[in-house]
C-alpha cells in the first residue's frame, strides 16, 4: 500500500546569534499509510509541533522532502498549496488561538468550504452536523472564541479540520485540553470517522496511555531526532532506547 504521507530526511534549523544553527527537526523520515494512526510522542521542545508545521508548509523546511499521495509538496508556493489543503488538515495545539477573535466559530469552521464556493446554507448545515458529532450543540456556530471554553473550542477546531473531508489529519495535542470523558468521546469520534472515511492521523500526544490505546504505530522523538519507532506496545512496554525508557518511566 502506498503511503498518503511520506517524509524523507526532513530538517528544520533555526539560526541563533553567535551560535551554531539549532536543529528543531533533524533528518526525520517516516511514512503514514492510508487509514493509519501514527503517534508522535516526545517531551516538550522535541520538535513535534515543528514537524506538523513543516508538513502543512506553514514554515519552510531547511532540507528534506515531503510527499502527499506521491506529490512532492516541499517546494510549492502560495496558491499551489490550496489544493493540498483539501487533503491535509490540522488541529492546532492552542484551540483558542486558532480561531479569529473577531469572527464566530461558525465563520472559522465554514471558511474552507466558503473558499471552495460551497453555498452558505449547505456549508452551515454541514458545520452544524459536524459540530454536533463533536459533542457541541449547533448554536455554538454563532459564538465567538472568547465566549467558549478551551475544550469547547478544541471540539470546534476538530470540526473545522474535518469540514473539507481531508485524507490526513494532523492532531497537535488535540485532546490535551479536554477532560477524560470528553477525551474518550473525541477519540471514539476520531476512530469512527477514520473507519468511515479511511482517514490517516498523525497523532501528536503527551499521553502515553492514549497513544497505546489508539495508535497503530508510534514514533518517539527526542531533540528533533527519531530515537525509536514501532508498535505502541513494543515501544511503551519494551523500550529499547535510553530516552524512551526514561519517558515511559516518567509517566508510569
Amino acid at each position: 500500500m502506498d503511503p498518503v504521507l511520506k517524509v524523507t530526511d526532513l530538517s528544520k534549523s533555526f539560526s541563533r546569534a553567535g551560535k551554531k544553527d539549532f536543529f528543531a527537526v533533524d533528518h526525520v523520515s517516516f511514512a503514514l499509510m492510508s487509514g493509519e494512526i501514527l503517534g508522535i510522542v516526545g517531551e516538550s521542545g522535541s520538535g513535534k509541533s515543528t514537524i506538523a508545521k513543516l508538513i502543512t508548509r506553514l514554515i519552510d523546511a531547511t532540507g528534506g522532502k515531503i510527499e502527499i499521495e506521491g506529490q512532492d509538496i516541499t517546494g510549492l508556493k502560495g496558491r499551489e498549496m490550496i489544493p493540498v489543503y483539501g487533503k491535509v488538515q490540522m488541529v492546532f495545539q492552542t484551540p483558542k488561538g486558532s480561531f479569529d477573535p473577531r469572527r464566530t466559530l461558525g465563520d472559522g469552521i465554514c471558511e474552507s468550504l466558503r473558499n471552495q464556493g460551497v453555498p452558505k446554507a449547505e456549508r452551515e448545515a454541514k458545520a452544524r452536523a459536524l459540530l454536533e458529532q463533536c459533542g457541541l450543540p449547533g448554536e455554538f456556530l454563532e459564538r465567538y472564541p472568547h465566549q467558549v471554553s478551551g475544550g469547547q473550542c478544541q471540539r470546534a477546531a476538530i470540526a473545522r479540520a474535518l469540514m473539507c473531508d481531508p485524507k490526513i489529519l494532523i492532531l497537535d495535542e488535540a485532546t490535551s485540553s479536554l477532560d477524560v470523558t470528553v477525551q474518550k468521546q473525541i477519540m471514539e469520534l476520531l476512530q469512527e470517522l477514520q473507519q468511515k472515511k479511511e482517514l490517516a492521523y498523525l497523532f501528536i500526544c503527551h499521553n502515553l496511555a492514549l497513544v497505546q490505546q489508539f495508535c497503530d504505530r508510534v514514533i518517539v522523538l527526542w531533540d528533533g531526532k527519531i530515537v525509536e519507532q514501532g508498535l505502541p506496545d513494543d515501544v511503551i512496554l519494551r523500550p529499547k532506547s535510553e530516552y524512551a525508557k526514561r519517558l515511559v518511566e516518567a509517566v508510569f
Binding site: R79, Y85, T94, G97, D100, R102, N115, R160
Partner: protein, 284 residues
C-alpha cells in the same frame, strides 16, 4: 481582567461604553456638521468689516464680541471650523488609510518592498514637523493645503508602523495559519483576518491623532504658515488677537476655547472607541 465575568456584568459594561460612544459621537457629528454648513449658519458675514463696531465686548448681538475690524467673532469661529475641523478630518483620513494600507502590505509580504518602504518612512519621520512645514511653505508658498501636505508627509509613517507591527504579530498567530489551511489567498487573508484585527488600534490612533493634527494645523496657521489672513481659521485668529490678550481677551479666548473643546471631544471619542473595540468588552 482575567476573572470570568458574568454575561450580565459584561452587558451592563458594554451598554455604558455604548452610551458614552454615542454621546461623543453625537458631539463629534455636530462639530463636523457645523464645519460643513458653516456658511449657512453664521449670523453675520464673517468677512464684513465695520470699523465703527470694532472691538465690541461680548453682547447679545455679538455673542463673542467683535475683532479690531468689527467682524463678528462668533461667525468667524464657526467659519473657522470649516478650515480646522474639515482640513483635519481630510488629513487624518488620507494619512491613516494610506499608512495602514502600506504598513499592512509591508508587514504581510515583507522582503524588499518592506525594507524600501520602511526606510522611506524613516526619512519622513526624521523631519521635525515644523521645520518640514517651513520648507514646504518656502517651496510651495504658505496656505492651508500646503500645511496639510506637510503634515501628511510626516504623519503617515505612524500608521504604517502600527499596521506593520500588528500585521507581523498576526502573521505568526495560529488563526492566520488556520485560515491558510482553509485555503485563503493573500487578499482574503488580509481583508478577512488581518485588517479587521488591526482596525481597532488604527482607529484609536486616528481618533487621538485628530486632536494632535488640529493643534498642529492651528499652530502652523498661528505662525503664518497655514491659513492666510483674512481667511478665518482658529490658529490665525489667535495669532491676530494675541497682542490684545489683556485688553480684548475674547479675541483669543473664543478660538482658543473652540480648539480646546474640539480637541477634547475627539480625544475622548478616541478613548471610547478604544474601549468599545476591545474584544473583552464586546461580550454577547
Amino acid at each position: 481582567m482575567n476573572r470570568p465575568v458574568t454575561v450580565r456584568v459584561q452587558k451592563v459594561k458594554k451598554n455604558r461604553i455604548r452610551t458614552r460612544l454615542f454621546f461623543f459621537l453625537f458631539l463629534a457629528v455636530i462639530l463636523v456638521l457645523v464645519s460643513f454648513f458653516a456658511d449657512q449658519i453664521v449670523p453675520y458675514d464673517p468677512y464684513a468689516q465695520d470699523l465703527g463696531l470694532s472691538r465690541q465686548p461680548p453682547s447679545p448681538a455679538h455673542f463673542m464680541g467683535t475683532d479690531q475690524y468689527g467682524r463678528d467673532v462668533f461667525s468667524r469661529v464657526v467659519v473657522g471650523a470649516k478650515a480646522s475641523v474639515f482640513s483635519t478630518l481630510v488629513l487624518v483620513c488620507v494619512t491613516s488609510v494610506f499608512g495602514t494600507v502600506t504598513g499592512t502590505l509591508c508587514g504581510y509580504f515583507g522582503r524588499e518592498i518592506d525594507s524600501v518602504v520602511m526606510r522611506i518612512s524613516d526619512v519622513c519621520l526624521a523631519f521635525p514637523g515644523l521645520v518640514f512645514a517651513l520648507a514646504i511653505a518656502a517651496l510651495l508658498g504658505g496656505g492651508m493645503s500646503n500645511a496639510v501636505i506637510a503634515l501628511a508627509v510626516i504623519s503617515w509613517p505612524k500608521y504604517a508602523r502600527v499596521a506593520r507591527g500588528q500585521t507581523l504579530a498576526l502573521k505568526n498567530s495560529d488563526f492566520v495559519a488556520a485560515a491558510k489551511l482553509a485555503g485563503d489567498n493573500s487578499a482574503q487573508m488580509i481583508l478577512r483576518h488581518i485588517l479587521p484585527n488591526i482596525l481597532g488600534p488604527i482607529l484609536v490612533t486616528a481618533m487621538l491623532d485628530i486632536g494632535t493634527m488640529m493643534m498642529e494645523l492651528a499652530g502652523l496657521s498661528f505662525l503664518g504658515l497655514g491659513a492666510q489672513p483674512p481667511v478665518a481659521e482658529w490658529g490665525n485668529m489667535m495669532s491676530g488677537g494675541r497682542s490684545m490678550l489683556q485688553t480684548y481677551p475674547w479675541l483669543v479666548l473664543s478660538p482658543g476655547v473652540a480648539i480646546f473643546l474640539t480637541v477634547v471631544t475627539f480625544n475622548l471619542l478616541g478613548d471610547t472607541v478604544r474601549d468599545y473595540m476591545d474584544p473583552k468588552n464586546s461580550g454577547s
